[in-house]
Symmetry: C2
Subunit: 514 residues, 2 copies
């Protein structure tokens, strides 16, 4: 009733429409503008640190550097964007073959100029052929909507790739959804699986904040499980099971478990044993597993085990035991060696779901019509690169190896820096694009941070940005054990200058508060 | 407590992890798979007719035609996709200049081959120059994430376009968000503005089902206002105000009003007077206006008035009265003459919102990282085509005019067909890409439909598809006055064959039930 009274006080009923020449139609008391109170409070509660306050400040500084004379007062000449895994913003070049194909898809008229373009070496003929095949799958134009699940021919290519990756365990195009990056897949799954406030979603801590943000938007309950920093950010299954049982005791239904492998922000790679234990939890409690496997190509140390492959081997070994496991595996063109973040390509594979669930996801996807077609084509190119003997093979293979090696070198270089720094402890990078060092702050620094109304890790990242232009994200944005402090940084930036600057900053900053 | 007991019955606590060589870790009772009951019920409730049961059946038939011998038994050789405004799926060609630019953006190496490519006439030099400018705005690669609001330089171009469109009323790049089509913009706005179950969203009936689907997902309350079919689907402001007041009396807060102009599915164009009355409602009740103006270029009859231009003129004429009006205007590269549905480009302009609201939208956008960069570039190309004197101007202008004329001719041709058909009544098309004829069904047909568990319009569309391959959408998917029946069809398909087939089907079908 309150609402009615409030409105009754500010408005009076008379028809807005009479005749246009009648000035009374403009004779009303205007209402006020909406404020934050009028909004969906879950949006206000959600946080996405990767684009949070430090990155926003970095954007301001970058704007100053580009446009303003006052930039003379800044201690640096450019921003080092280490807050986000965005390889092509730094110096990573796109793969030539992929870009040739997409370029032709955008302007198929080039196919009619094949003689000139191939003889001059501007395009390779196998790029022309791949573009023709893809155009045929797509139906002639990247400017038309595809089916909401994605272009069928591309889903077939993805299914073949997964089958080969998982030692012949068959994947079906019907279970593949082409999505705008992995973010969109995560959003579909959580929107669907979060039934109400009592739905629990297990997330690793630290985690990629897309998950906390999306769970908050869905108004579901976060069930954090902590990774073991000391043993390379491995999972602790006993602890996970305790989280599940505590949730049940609290009348929260643990429905979904997010697993990020290789880890973001941790850079770890899960062992096969860890994955088996996670699948056991899924099987025993009927918890849907979301395997965020977008960094599956970014492995420097150890081996990537896809959750599906491990599941299939368990299903063979223990007949009947694992038949009800439901798994969604996410992949993306943004990471790996393609690094095509801005092109918004990705896929998810659904494993073990009832068909009615697949249909519900399809309906959700249909409301967004379809994912961008060139992003879908890039998925095809990611999983089906030129093969030995193909004209583009050598260059493509060289570029892929080179990117992989470069990433590995940069990871090691930054890791070595952190090993040298006083008060910094870092796990050895095994995969992904990030390091997540632990910072042992002096007490005076902690006190000063609190005085300035910041968490100590935020205080450090803030000072690092203002002193050097290096933009990182405080560990608090990803979650960390109470009383510990971290930061996430990508290792993607080239050169030694930025790591040198970081070293100097760190030593000065720590000695100031020692 | 029920949940706890249920789980206690099916699971027993023992640590899943002991040692891997211990078979007890696989010794648990597996849980069951999830079912529809376990899902977010709003997803199940949501409906998106444009990709609903008739289009799904059309997909099956198309699959049969392509892959199956049983297609011999079908009465047609291809599906006519008239269910969705997807011009390039039919025979509309993309604009050459736009595609040349995007092709270069995808493979900037082409810029180094300028001499060959321009001298052979493969690319125009102004396409090369535009690509260089855009690459500079974008920061060098379409494969990098942009800021979540979109590339600044492109937002500047959009702001300049709006300023010119609205007779010099200034637009600012800070108020422009680049989005994946208009669907994503609608989704951001409704997710944010739908606070709770008591939030009311006014939607026209008939409406584009993206809105009903999204409102259902947001768990808000739909407040339908009916358009006047008899007077060319105009708005009735008295009725709208009654809807607002009835909602308030019901303790529902009318917070948002969706206006689709030119109309989808109606094909109508709102008069300036209608728009003034709508703005009055927004001003008087503090209702946020969402102006879906994606068909602003698709005008065949009458004139398009942007809601912002009308608002600005009211603000000048009645100082202080309209200052609190809050408006979001949506546009897209999917429609107009570019028709680039699969490229997922679009923008929204925010007018009159407090900065805190803009920040909240930005946070929501940041969780999706950014919209696809080539889609952003296409927005630039849509609003800033080649100018008189530019090398590409003549061809581009010819193509644009040609597409516009073709669409107009097809609209008229289909309208003329409907005028001839018995029991069909259709408003004259003024804009957009659709006709929404009213079907006066014989009573025997209505009875037969009900016997077959279908609404009569669904029954008709179903029979039309099975007999001719023409895929349309029943009016019930868009909303219609009780006891009336319609269907939505695009007029995009080329040739006369399909309209002839429709005519024959209609006459036969109606005479069967006469």
């Amino acid at each position: 009733m309150q609402l009615t009274e409030e409105f009754a006080a500010t408005t009076q009923y008379f028809p807005v429409r009479k005749a246009l020449d009648d000035d009374t139609i403009h004779n009303f008391k205007p209402a006020k503008k909406i404020t934050l109170d009028d909004l969906n409070q879950n949006v206000l509660k959600s946080e996405y640190a990767v684009r949070g306050s430090i990155p926003r400040r970095a954007e301001e500084l970058e704007f100053e550097l580009l446009n303003n004379d006052s930039s003379d007062s800044l201690a640096f000449e450019n921003i080092v964007h280490a807050n986000i895994g965005n390889p092509q913003q730094l110096d990573q070049k796109p793969l030539t073959f992929s870009r040739q194909v997409i370029s032709i898809l955008q302007y198929p008229e080039l196919l009619n100029q094949r003689n000139i373009l191939v003889s001059t070496g501007i395009f390779k003929s196998d790029a022309m052929e791949r573009a023709e095949t893809l155009l045929c799958h797509i139906g002639g134009s990247v400017g038309a909507y595809s089916s909401s699940q994605g272009v069928y021919g591309i889903r077939e290519t993805v299914a073949n790739y997964i089958t080969a990756r998982d030692n012949g365990e068959t994947a079906s195009p019907d279970d593949i959804f082409l999505t705008e990056g992995a973010s969109k897949a995560a959003s579909y799954l959580l929107s669907l699986l979060c039934k109400d406030k009592n739905t629990g979603v297990l997330i690793p801590i630290p985690q990629y904040p897309l998950y906390t943000a999306t769970i908050t938007l869905c108004d579901a309950k976060m069930l954090p499980y902590y990774l073991n920093e000391e043993s390379g950010w491995s999972t602790n299954t006993n602890e996970i099971e305790k989280v599940v049982l505590d949730a049940i005791a609290d009348n929260v239904k643990p429905s979904v478990m997010v697993v990020i492998n290789p880890g973001n922000p941790t850079g770890s790679v899960l062992s096969k044993d860890d994955i088996i234990h996670i699948i056991n939890i899924g099987a025993k409690y009927g918890i849907v597993l979301i395997a965020d496997e977008v960094y599956q190509e970014n492995i420097f140390d150890g081996e990537f085990h896809s959750m599906k492959k491990v599941l299939r081997s368990l299903q063979k070994q223990y007949p009947g035991k694992y038949d009800a496991v439901q798994l969604a595996s996410l992949h993306s063109t943004s990471k790996g060696v393609s690094g095509e973040c801005g092109q918004r390509g990705g896929y998810m594979e659904l494993v073990g779901f009832k068909d009615e669930i697949r249909q519900a996801i399809l309906k959700l996807a249909s409301i967004s019509l379809c994912s961008v077609i060139t992003g879908q084509a890039l998925v095809d190119l990611m999983v089906n690169p030129p093969k030995k003997g193909d004209e583009s093979y050598e260059l493509d293979n060289f570029e892929r190896k080179n990117i992989h090696e470069t990433l590995k070198e940069r990871a090691e270089k930054l890791y070595n820096l952190f090993c040298q720094l006083k008060g910094v402890e870092c796990q050895k990078p095994q995969g992904a694009m990030y390091l997540f060092p632990k910072l042992h702050f002096p007490q005076t620094l902690i006190t000063e941070a609190i005085n300035q109304n910041m968490s100590p890790d935020e205080f450090y990242c803030h000072a690092l940005l203002e002193a050097t232009g290096i933009c990182t994200v405080p560990g608090s944005g990803f979650g960390q054990k109470e009383g510990t402090y971290h930061l996430r940084t990508t290792f993607l930036a080239p050169g030694n200058q930025w790591t040198e600057k970081w070293k100097l900053f760190h030593e000065e900053f720590f000695s100031k508060y020692q």
